[in-house]
Each structure stands twice: as C-alpha cells, then as structure tokens.
C-alpha cells in the first residue's frame, strides 16, 4: 500500500485550485522509521507528504484543534479514521463543507514489529465510509470478530482478571495522553477535570486511574472506532484497547450489531434504544 504519489497529486491540485487552506497528511519522521502527521499550509510542502502502510495515526484527531477550525481542510482517512470522521460530523464538531476528504481503501497498517496491526486484522470496515475522492479498491465490510485479547482475558478467572487490571491502573500515570490523542475526545473541559470529579479523585493513584479510565471508556462506548491512537500515545504502553473492545463487543452482541461511525447520523449505541434490548440482567 503506497499512495504517496496520488496523495501528493491531489494535494497539489487542491492547493492550485484554492480549494483548501490546510492539508493534513503524513510525513516521514527524521529520527526513526515512523511517520508523523504534517499540516501542509503551503504548496511547497506538498512533496513531504507520504502514505504507506506505516501511516498509522488517525489524522481526524487534528480536526479538533484550533489550527483547523473554520479552515478548509484536506485530509487523508483510512477506514477506521473515516468512521471517526463520521462521528465528528454527526456530533457537529466539523463541517462537511469545510472538508475535502481523501478516502483510502486500506489494506491494513503495520505495527512496531512490522507485522499487520491487530486492529487491522480485526477491522470490520477497511474502506473509507466518507470521502470526496477514493484511492484503492474497496474490499467491502468484513465479518465482526471479538478481539482476541478480550476473549483470552474473559476466559480467565475473576481474580486473575482483577489482578491484571490492577497492574494496568497502577501503571497509569494520569498523563491524559490517551485523551488528547483520541479524535472523539474534544470536550471543552473533560469531565474528569471538573471540580466535583477532581475533588473526590486525587491525582496519580490507581483509584484515580480507575475512575478516569472507566469513565473515559464508557464515554467512548459505542463511539470508539478502534483506531488505537490512544494506545500509541500511551507512555506506559497500557493495552487500552481492551476496555474499548470489551464495550464494543457487548454493544455489538446486544444492540443490533451496532458499530460506531458506520453511518452518518448514527450517534452511537447510547443515544438510541430498542424495545428488544436485553432485559434479562434486570430483576
């Protein structure tokens, strides 16, 4: 998967036609093999743009910052990114008319070890669902499968599972990098920073990490698109996807196979209901 050339062409054309002010894409990192985001504002920077199977990050995250607000933006989105973009559009965080979306029909990106990333192996929608222009051939919706880690962990005993997570919450340093890297965490002021939450929460303790991560994952339940920006940003390398994938599984299995961001105007599983929702867990 190497669409560098196409993307550079499209970006130059967009700048030439004055359709955009900013182009958000990837560029090669000077220090290592990884790619980092680049906000191209002048046509001269277009040759820096690159797109390969190392273009891992979800760029829609950059739509929530001031740089791009009320500007005309060109952006590259893979399947999962486009679902996040769908969520942002639905939740009125970006205006569709301000965007020029280049949808990638993704074949999966690589992890640090150079293997296909886990979320790509389990990806349900590799094709971009929102786009103005499409690159690559669509491969269609895939079968949903429960995350292997979630499955493995769920098979363990309660105590063992508890100990596993205890370690996670102990290792969390409450740096909030996960929140900052998440495209869907755009709140003006996060709830865990609010007065009433801070008051009873303390700072860098397992219990505050527990509270923060639980609340965060529940706020993303039914909205998370499994792009794993959070996990890549986490300095403690915590397996944050476990929480999201667990919620996704529960929602998929119980609420009409709901998956986040697949359709426009779908606000997520918590913002609608069905008479047929499971009721047997309630006395």
């Amino acid at each position: 998967m190497d669409y560098t050339k196409q993307i550079q062409e499209i970006a130059s054309k967009l700048f030439a036609e004055e359709k955009i002010d900013i182009f958000i894409g990837y560029r090669q990192n000077a220090f290592d093999d990884n790619q980092v985001p680049i906000l191209v504002t002048v046509p001269a920077d277009v040759p820096n743009l690159i797109f390969t199977d190392k273009s891992v990050l979800n760029l829609t995250n950059y739509l929530k910052f001031e740089h791009t607000r009320n500007k005309r933006v060109g952006i590259v989105v893979k399947g999962c990114d486009s679902r996040a973009l769908n969520m942002l559009l639905t939740e009125s965080q970006v205006k569709r008319e301000n965007l020029y979306v280049i949808g990638i029909n993704c074949t999966g990106v690589l992890n640090e070890k150079g293997e296909k990333a886990q979320n790509c192996l389990e990806c349900v929608m590799p094709d971009a669902v929102v786009y103005d222009e499409m690159i690559g051939t669509p491969s269609g919706k895939k079968e949903y499968s429960v995350n292997v880690d979630v499955k493995e962990l769920a098979a363990k005993g309660l105590v063992e599972r508890g100990e596993y997570f205890q370690e996670i919450f102990e290792n969390c340093i409450r740096c909030n990098a996960c929140r900052h890297s998440c495209p869907l965490c755009y709140c003006t002021k996060c709830c865990i920073d609010q007065e009433s939450a801070v008051l009873y929460n303390g700072s860098n303790t397992p219990s505050s990490a527990f509270h923060a991560l639980m609340t965060w994952s529940l706020h993303l339940a039914g909205r998370c698109v499994d792009c794993r920006n959070c996990e890549k940003a986490c300095p403690s390398h915590l397996p944050l996807h476990l929480l999201h994938k667990q919620n996704e599984m529960v929602i998929y299995e119980n609420f009409q196979q709901h998956l986040a961001g697949m359709e426009k105007d779908d606000r997520g599983a918590f913002y609608k209901y069905s008479m047929k929702d499971p009721d047997d867990f309630i006395m």
């Binding site: 105590v159 508890g162 205890q166 929480l243 919620n247 599983a269 918590f270 209901y273 499971p278």
Partner: protein, 163 residues
C-alpha cells in the same frame, strides 16, 4: 467466567481479593439509586406496608433511571459501598416516556465492563420496580443483600486519600 464464591466457616472472603477476609457478622453497605416515580414510590409502599427487609441499603432519589450516570456506580463502589442497586420503572412505564430504555443500555455495558476489570457481576444489580410493587422491592433488596454478603467486602480501587 466467574470464580466460585468460597464457602468458609466463620469468615467471609472477598470474591475479588481472596486475601481479604471479614468476620462472619460483617454487614455490607449497598447503595440504592431509585427513580422517583416508580421505584422510590415502590420503596415507600414497602414501608407503608411494613414489609421488612435487610437494613444494608442506603437510598438515593433521582428523577429517572436515565439520570443515573455510570459515574455514580463507579463512585459508589470506590467509596463505602460493597454493591450497587439501581432501580427504575418497568420498560414502557417510564414517567419520562423513554428514559429507562436509554438507561438500560448504559447499565448493561457498565455492568459488563466492571465485571471485565475484576468486579463480581452481583456487585452491580438492576431492577424494575413499579410504584405498586412494594413486596417486590423488599425481595429485590433481600436478594441483593444476600448476594453481596456472599461476595464479602470490596476493597478494589477504594479512595486512598479521602475519608
């Protein structure tokens, strides 16, 4: 998969932390969050009918089960509660038309998530109790209390630095 609740003589072992034991007469604290129009009214009826139930529950009144933020559940478990009971109107009977339908979805996901990270399922329980179901409310409280007594004290992620 749930671990078996251990039967021990004279002591209660915490289901989540087998190292922690409590004396046999240990009494759990249960946080009850009830909707104003059905379950709170139902619990009042339990009172007026003088139906007895275990005294472990502490009741908070909210207008509707849809007012219950999962945060309340997490917070309750992080402070003094050993278990949570949330109760609302039966599906279709919501005073606010559809509140309990939204709530039901959140409850299921919250319950499963907490179970996933190491809480026993029975610590977080839900019920639909109508304003006429005084006896049912007593039964529900009795069952939840009994369930949680078996699970022993909860020590996970309790506030280290407050109270």
């Amino acid at each position: 998969m749930e671990t078996e609740v251990k039967e021990t003589k004279g002591q209660v072992v915490s289901a989540e932390n087998p190292g922690i034991v409590a004396p046999a007469d240990w009494q759990p604290v249960i946080m009850g969050i009830l909707c104003n129009w059905c379950s709170y009214a139902g619990s009042d009826l339990t009172g007026t009918s003088r139906i007895q139930y275990p005294p472990n529950i502490r009741i908070i009144r909210v207008p509707c089960s849809s007012r219950v933020d999962p945060w309340f559940i997490i917070k309750s478990l992080q402070t003094s509660a050993d278990g949570v009971l949330i109760s609302g109107c039966h599906p279709g009977d919501c005073h606010y038309i559809s509140g309990n339908y939204y709530a039901r979805r959140r409850f299921l996901v919250t319950k499963k998530l907490l179970n996933f990270v190491g809480y026993h399922e029975n610590r977080i329980q839900f019920s639909w109790v109508s304003a006429a179901e005084g006896p049912k409310f007593a039964k529900v409280v009795a069952k939840v209390t009994e369930d949680i007594k078996k699970l022993g004290p909860l020590h996970k992620y309790k506030k280290e630095n407050l109270k």
